[in-house]
């Protein structure tokens, strides 16, 4: 009986600790996705400035250098851009696919959505300005995400284990 209780207690603490570690890991992931977005925009800018590549092709080339959920989201946006019969469908696709990305705040998503929606409507200088402003904003978001991660990651991990211990003490 005692052995069973010990095993259950261990499992509860391990599970709670695992949840805490996952939560802390999510903070790192936010930073990686934001950095991916910056990489993506820089590559798109190069394609537009030096090759004047059309947007769907520029997105596809830039997409090859990103990872995580952003790669899949951009892929779906490209498909909808090529199939689109109206601008409305393209804009909807951008909102839906970027909103699905996890581990980002609403503000992170809105910034990226507004950059992507604005591209393609003006001359090269306008595209450069849009992308540069977007990169500056995302770099600030990266700093914020990094600071938040440094200050809270350890807390989340410890809280996980502590909550597990509390549950064990109260119920077992």
């Amino acid at each position: 009986m005692i052995i069973i209780k010990l095993i259950i207690s261990f499992l509860i603490v391990a599970l709670a600790g695992y949840i805490g570690i996952q939560k802390a890991g999510g903070l790192s992931k936010r930073e990686y996705i934001l950095r991916d977005m910056i990489t993506f925009l820089k590559n798109v800018k190069n394609e537009i400035v030096y090759m004047q590549t059309i947007l769907p092709n520029a997105f596809e080339i830039a997409r090859q250098n990103v990872y995580f959920e952003l790669k899949d989201a951009i892929g779906q946006i490209i498909i909808d851009m090529l199939n689109q019969k109206s601008d409305y469908i393209k804009d909807e696709s951008i909102v839906v696919n970027i909103s699905r990305i996890k581990n980002l705040t609403d503000y992170d998503k809105n910034v990226f959505i507004s950059i992507i929606k604005s591209l393609g409507r003006g001359d090269v200088t306008t595209q450069i300005n849009i992308i540069d402003n977007g990169i500056n904003t995302l770099e600030n978001q990266v700093k914020e995400a990094n600071e938040y991660k440094l200050s809270n990651a350890k807390v989340y991990k410890k809280m996980g284990f502590i909550m597990g211990l509390i549950i064990v003490i109260i119920f077992i």
């Binding site: 004047q52 059309i54 393609g120 409507r121």
Partner: protein
């Protein structure tokens, strides 16, 4: 016409298809807040469709595949060539910086010219401009809308492919297509047949294009449309000195008209062109009004 329908609004596409004479359509004119006008070979049809500013913008977005910056140079030149070789002329407010057009804003009208080619329209004059298997310098003169570009295109095609019955082997032709009307190059592909051995330089001034092609492409013949400036004449002289043959067109009604243009009188005096063809619209576009040939006395003689 399918490529044009892909870029037009769906309702407008349906109205144009309902006209029923799609093969005869030569132009589709779109002006903001005005009815769409379709021009066929025989009549002008005013559709019950009012074009909006959004329609114009949607067309540009579809043509550029959501990338207006990628067609900015074309917009500044006043026309875009789409798949199929069709040309979309653009009108709006020019934004000028340091004497150059930086942009055209508030685009308010489009003129979609349907590309078409008449294969074989040069057959009747080939016997005059090719003798003993040799092609001789030719100048085609006509007012606008008389078919000189269509005729030029077919001549280029035939001399590039070779003309067996006239013992002319295929020649390397360098085509300077300043406004994209002759070969209708889109994304690097010629949408109209200009022959097997033709190299096309598009979206470049005629004078620069002639010099570049003469220097770098090892061509036998240089061809271009609507020569007229002093820079063009200088470039022609450069090409002549390089030993290439020439086939050009120019605006005018007669030899007297073109001899009034600066530099042209010298070209005619120096007998650069062995053949001179004057076109008109008398019996429809492509009517050969007069044909002149250089005789043994180095004088242009009417042979029509």
């Amino acid at each position: 016409m399918e490529e044009i329908y892909k870029v037009l609004p769906e309702i407008l596409t349906q109205k144009i298809k309902n006209i029923g004479s799609n093969t005869g359509i030569s132009e589709i004119r779109l002006r903001v807040n005005k009815n769409c006008i379709v021009i066929t070979s025989s009549i002008e049809i005013v559709l019950e469709y009012i074009v909006s500013l959004k329609d114009i913008l949607d067309i540009l977005i579809k043509v550029s595949k959501n990338s207006i910056y990628s067609i900015q140079n074309d917009i500044n030149n006043g026309f875009i060539v789409i798949n199929g070789g069709h040309r979309i002329g653009i009108c709006g407010e020019a934004v000028v910086l340091d004497g150059n057009i930086k942009n055209i804003k508030n685009i308010n009208s489009l003129n979609i010219r349907v590309a078409h080619q008449i294969i074989g329209c040069a057959d009747k004059i080939l016997t005059q401009i090719i003798e003993d298997g040799i092609f001789y310098n030719t100048l085609i003169v006509s007012p606008p809308g008389c078919g000189k570009t269509t005729l030029l295109r077919d001549i280029i095609r035939q001399i590039s492919n070779g003309v067996d019955y006239l013992k002319l082997k295929g020649l390397n032709v360098g085509l300077v297509d300043e406004r994209g009307e002759i070969a209708s190059v889109c994304n690097g592909i010629c949408n109209l047949d200009v022959g097997l051995r033709t190299d096309v330089m598009s979206n470049i001034s005629k004078s620069k294009g002639i010099e570049m092609i003469t220097r770098s492409m090892g061509v036998n013949v240089i061809a271009t449309d609507e020569i007229g400036t002093t820079d063009d004449v200088k470039a022609i002289n450069y090409a002549v000195c390089s030993g290439v043959s020439l086939i050009f067109t120019a605006h005018g009604n007669s030899i007297k008209d073109i001899s009034l243009k600066e530099g042209f009188d010298k070209l005619l005096e120096n007998n650069i062109f062995r053949n001179l063809i004057i076109l008109s619209n008398k019996n429809g576009p492509g009517t050969i009004e007069k044909m002149y040939k250089l005789n043994n006395d180095d004088k242009l003689k009417n042979v029509s």
